[in-house]
């Protein structure tokens, strides 16, 4: 009996693996012919990245050598590109004219890399990253010192950039989105990846749209981005994705959507023809990773040997193959409705883990820095095992979970060996801690910290140390409450956070969250504005303000009202205005139909009920009349209220108006932990009510009394006298120094009087009485003001943050 003829189009990983699956089950069943367009044997395409990086050679990644084809009697037609499938005659014809008749045909034509249709895309030195030819072209171009740009910050693009950098090129990844590998990673892991790549010499440009490939003498010389930036390069790699190759199938009039459509037994619309791999569309899904393709091949092996199997789609997991950067992602790594997150960060080791649970089962995971448990989470995810019983230890991985399963947490601590390390920061073992507790009679967390240093640094091991105390002391131990945490996302207090931002030079919110091991992916509405302020204060000029971490009022530079409209308060320096300003305000009120105009307690005019869309136009008119933002919405300097002083008043002792205007012109625009209001009164009759302000000045004949810590809101509190100075200059220096001390030391949302209650008037006095400290504080304030003394209204009139004020679309306005 003659054998059935099995023809495979595609000598890649899928085609050969399918043949192997058939041979494994029924080696003698078919006469097999494989057509391959590349003139090579079958190799492991996913290992091209290590070949590019010089970590492997081509020989290392060959899967099936020539002997395999010969031993199994396979007729390999390498270098023969099939051009026609004749379904009537059941034969295929290659470009070289050779033909092969089939009884069953497998399409394994794979996919093509997407080439962006950019101007200049046909220049020499513009390549994709798909096959060995591409890799060889890249290696040829990779002269040390030369520059490469890779468009596409997905898995392939990053691997390409890393490989080129290993070859000595300067490599830059240009990515359209704001997070690398956004289909696999969340923003936290994406941030860490960006940092890790930078350490390996790969730069990242995010949110960058490519516009044109520039060339000289027919060769690529650079890439121009839409924002006008030009990145010079000698090699440009497009790694923006793949497109299933269905050309042949389409020509043969098989059903093709995005890919060649197959059913659960991988059969196309012609029952004699099957398809597998990246050219396939199964249940609407196309795959570009190897694991699902292996699953398809198994199913097809069964189907072609009369077995019963159905392919039902695959769960996906991804690993980045960059040496020293451990990244794993699987399933619903971004969570979703009804999902909860378990987040673990270990700043010391640069680890971030996010496990997504849904109905008590693992639904997805993102691991960065330590992906060794990726397989375990993926198995838990696929098996759908209920993890409720061990969710406490789940995030610590398989070893910790299996080791501790069934033990209650105290028993687990008791079961720890004396040599087990408890505090990783200071290298303290369990034995040292228990010995210190019993030998020295320690009873509090603080005393354990003082004696052993355990839990004295990052604080992650605090719960463990507390359990040890409890274990040793029994009921005698009372849990101490440490500094109040910033919010539920962290156990760190405000002081801790501020200290470490400076000590470790943390300059972005993700950097702080990683270093201090935040327990949520991107914080909450309490901690994000606090962190943003701490960074603004710590790194003036350096830190890029995160608008999404600001409360709406500070984002749109106006005060939101109960009906969603806004109020606008132009600045009136020291409370002084003019006929021109008042006329301009009146015109704005008429022009924009502003319903309420109100005089405020801080000597300003408040325009209430302005529609959000009108804000930039309102500001433009106020700007035109010389007025700037009054920051009535800011955790920052609000107003300096004054009386008329020596200019007019018969009791005035100094130029209180002048001092108020001077203070306001110097201090406006500064951000602070909470709002700050000032006042300057020209005599002790105190018409400017300076003694209930955050900082107040009472002018007297001999000079200026500087007051601090008053309040007249939720609480009523008179100020305390901080200092008495002789000259106006000294008054300004002292006030700015207090302001800076408050900016640097207070907790976010802590008003000056609350801060003073906490640290004591003495501490503030000490700061401004020491001339060197006062000078240093003043200098830091003045440096910071170089960056923040700008009118946010004018910036927005000029077009900044336009999206904040315009609706996304007006297409649904009229039903």
């Amino acid at each position: 009996m003659t054998k059935e003829r099995l023809v495979v189009i595609g000598n890649g990983m899928a085609g050969c693996r399918a043949v192997q699956e058939v041979l494994k089950r029924d080696p003698g069943r078919y006469d097999i012919t494989i057509f391959g367009a590349e003139p090579r044997v079958n190799y492991d395409r996913i290992m091209l990245s290590p070949v590019l990086a010089g970590e492997k050679s081509f020989a290392d990644i060959v899967i099936n050598d020539e002997a395999w084809y010969a031993d199994n009697g396979i007729d390999l037609r390498a270098g023969a590109r099939v051009e026609v499938i004749d379904r009537e005659a059941r034969l295929v014809r290659a470009a070289d004219g050779t033909e092969a008749p089939y009884d069953r045909l497998i399409l394994a034509t794979g996919s093509d890399p997407i080439r962006l249709p950019l101007p200049g895309a046909d220049l020499a030195g513009v390549v994709t990253f798909r096959d060995l030819d591409d890799v060889e072209a890249m290696i040829a171009a990779a002269k040390p010192g030369a520059k490469a740009v890779v468009i596409g910050g997905g898995l392939l693009g990053i691997e390409a950039a890393y490989g080129l950098s290993k070859r000595g090129m300067g490599a830059t990844v240009v990515h359209l989105m704001d997070v690398l590998m956004e289909r696999q990673l969340d923003a936290s892991a994406g941030f860490l990846l960006t940092e890790a790549l930078a350490e390996k010499g790969v730069e990242t440009v995010l949110e960058a749209q490519s516009e044109e490939i520039l060339g000289a003498n027919g060769r690529v010389s650079g890439l121009r981005l839409k924002d006008g930036r030009v990145l010079d390069c000698d090699l440009l790699v497009m790694a923006v994705g793949i497109r299933p190759n269905g050309t042949l199938a389409k020509a043969a009039e098989l059903e093709v959507n995005r890919g060649v459509v197959v059913d659960d037994s991988l059969r196309t619309s012609d029952p004699a023809i099957y398809a597998i791999g990246e050219c396939v569309e199964h249940r609407g899904q196309c795959y570009g990773l190897v694991a699902p393709i292996w699953e398809m091949c198994r199913t097809l092996g069964e189907a072609l040997t009369d077995g019963e199997a159905a392919y039902e789609g695959s769960s996906l997991s991804t690993r980045l193959k960059v040496s020293g950067v451990d990244v794993f992602s699987a399933g619903k790594h971004l969570g979703g409705p009804g999902c909860e997150d378990i987040v673990f960060r270990d700043a010391g080791r640069g680890v971030y883990k996010r496990i997504v649970l849904e109905e008590g089962k693992v639904a997805g995971a993102v691991l960065f820095g330590d992906a060794s448990d990726g397989g375990w989470y993926f198995d838990l995810m696929k098996s759908g095992e209920d993890v409720a019983a061990f969710r406490e230890t789940l995030v610590f991985g398989q070893a910790a979970t299996e080791g501790l399963r069934g033990l209650d947490p105290s028993a687990a601590v008791a079961a720890m060996a004396d040599t087990a390390e408890v505090c990783g920061c200071n290298g303290v073992c369990k034995g040292e801690i228990t010995a210190a507790i019993t030998d020295q009679g320690l009873t509090t967390l603080e005393s354990v910290r003082a004696v052993t240093k355990a839990s004295a640094s990052c604080g992650t091991c605090t719960p463990l140390v507390e359990k040890l105390l409890k274990l040793s002391l029994g009921a005698a131990f009372q849990v101490q409450t440490g500094p109040k945490p910033v919010c539920g996302c962290t156990h760190h207090g405000h002081d801790d956070v501020r200290r470490r931002i400076l000590a470790e030079e943390l300059k972005s919110i993700p950097a702080v969250m990683q270093a201090l091991e935040w327990t949520t992916p991107d914080g909450c509405a309490s901690c994000r504005p606090a962190l943003n302020y701490y960074l603004v204060c710590a790194w003036p000029g350096d830190y890029r303000d995160d608008r999404q971490s600001r409360f709406v009022n500070e984002r749109v530079h106006a005060n939101i009202q109960k009906d969603g409209t806004y109020s606008v308060v132009p600045r009136m320096w020291g409370g002084v205005t003019s006929a021109d300003e008042l006329r301009a305000i009146a015109d704005v009120v008429d022009k924009f139909d502003i319903p309420t105009v109100k005089v405020t307690g801080g000597q300003r005019i408040d325009l209430l009920g302005v529609k959000k869309d009108d804000l930039p136009a309102v500001w433009a008119d106020l700007n035109a009349a010389g007025m700037v933002s009054g920051h009535a919405y800011a955790k920052g300097l609000r107003t300096v209220k004054t009386c008329v002083g020596t200019d007019w008043c018969r009791f005035g002792t100094q130029d209180s108006t002048g001092l108020g205007v001077r203070l306001e012109k110097f201090m406006w625009g500064s951000w602070s932990p909470a709002k700050v209001k000032l006042a300057v009164s020209g005599c002790p009759r105190n018409c400017a009510e300076a003694t209930c302000k955050d900082i107040g000045v009472i002018c007297v004949d001999s000079g200026y009394e500087i007051h601090v810590g008053g309040a007249a809101g939720l609480h009523i509190k008179g100020t305390e006298v901080l200092a008495k100075v002789a000259t106006e200059d000294e008054a300004v220096w002292t006030i700015c120094a207090v302001m800076q001390f408050y900016r640097e030391d207070a907790w976010y949302l802590e008003r000056v009087y609350k801060w003073m209650e906490r640290i004591g008037l003495g501490a503030i006095k000490a700061a401004v009485e020491d001339p060197e400290r006062r000078r240093a504080l003043y200098d830091r304030f003045s440096y910071s003001q170089r960056f923040y003394r700008v009118d946010p209204w004018a910036e927005r009139v000029a077009g900044r943050d336009a999206h904040e004020f315009n609706p996304l679309s007006r297409r649904m306005e009229f039903a």
Binding site: L334, P337, L808, M812
Partner: protein, 112 residues
Amino acid sequence: MNALVKDPIMWTDVGAVTDVPLRGSRRVPTADGDIAIFRTGDGRVFALRDRCPHKGGPLSQGIVHGHAVTCPLHNWSIELATGEAMGADRGKGCAPVVPLEVRDGRLLLGRI
């Protein structure tokens, strides 16, 4: 093959996914009030009626964190996937979810 059966909805293209800032929101005015479209830190998008169930505050102006938004008026946190109030306010109200689809990087809002 398995043709997807769509609800009888009219979809309107209201812009690109990337027009909505990460951890931010944009609003779309309609004849019956604004719709808020949110984009979370991990790149997912959600749409709700732009009215807090508490006192009608514009949720589109709140701080987006995790898969939630905190209303700018009185700090209620609303779960973006369901529109439900979270935490202590759970069960006290809900901002209606609006059908939203992403196709080829475009945001499509549904009208039922």
